[in-house]
Symmetry: C2
Subunit: 149 residues, 2 copies
DNA sequence: ACTATATAGTTCTATATTGAACCAAATGGA
DNA sequence: TCCATTTGGTTCAATATAGAACTATATAGT
């Protein structure tokens, strides 16, 4: 396979990834309460899995969205009582985003709603090497992430 | 690995896919002329690679977006002179989307602009099994596509 | 200490996206 | 043929996204 063909395969790869991203997002959002988007869930999940009390800017960078987009997402979460924004004691310009009890249970319930779909997929893909797939994709993701500038 | 762990891997898979989708979209759009989005390119590419003269509804279904979103995308392409919308001789309610010369060359130029990035990636991932990856992802995509209802 | 510059976050504005309502043409019974 | 229903597409309204300008605070250089 020559370089041009390789490039074609990579193009096809990004194409598949884009389609799956859209399909999985739609599926996931259909399991969330009305008015909530994947972005809302993702922030809550990040606060739980990575670190609570992050600043808005760190969150924006983690999700690779502009900081004003994160402001908007956080204001939605705050209005729904799922996070609290407190001043950052280490930096007067900055804030910290803290999960509330309601935020924690919202995230748990969202995962609960999604789990049946994941388990069904796992059953239908018995023997499929998801772990290997994730490993390979993580390599590509790390490359793109580093190339971004 | 039990079912719960499998579900976790699948969750991680969609997570990676979402991130790569966003990164690759941003990269790609940075190579397009100002004011054009991936969606615009994708429609032009589809008309060339799949079939010219498709109806807006068929295009909307192909890209899995609501038909009013496709109306909006097409009006942008039409305003830029990259496609023409003609009445569908087979159905008075419907239209056909035809590529113009300008649309064809726009698509070719976009690919030309992107190619260096793809070739660089191909070089840096010498020996990486992109084809296998695409095959696996296509399976997942087909599954999600069928599950959508 | 003083000033220039950089950083965190918000606001403003413009465009994108999408559900719902709508219109027009087509289809399918009676 | 007539009317009810379905289908293709647009319009309207509400929300999402993001670039640019702005405010306030922090940092660096002198």
């Amino acid at each position: 396979m020559n370089k041009q063909e390789h490039a074609g395969q990579i193009f096809a790869l990004f194409n598949e990834i884009g389609i799956i991203s859209q399909l999985s997002r739609t599926l996931f959002e259909s399991r969330l309460p009305h008015g909530f988007l994947l972005q809302h869930f993702s922030v809550l999940n990040h606060l739980i899995r990575v670190k609570n009390g992050q600043t808005p800017l760190v969150l924006a960078q983690a999700f690779q969205v502009p900081k004003n987009s994160m402001t908007h997402t956080l204001s939605g979460l705050e209005k729904a009582g799922l996070v609290e924004l407190k001043p950052n004691p280490k930096d007067g310009r900055s804030k910290q985003v803290w999960l509330t009890e309601a935020g924690h249970s919202f995230r748990d319930q969202a995962i609960g709603k999604l789990m049946p779909d994941l388990l069904e997929l796992a059953r239908d893909f018995e023997g499929f090497d998801f772990t290997g797939l994730v490993t390979q994709l993580a390599e590509v993701r790390a490359y793109l992430d580093a190339a971004r500038d």
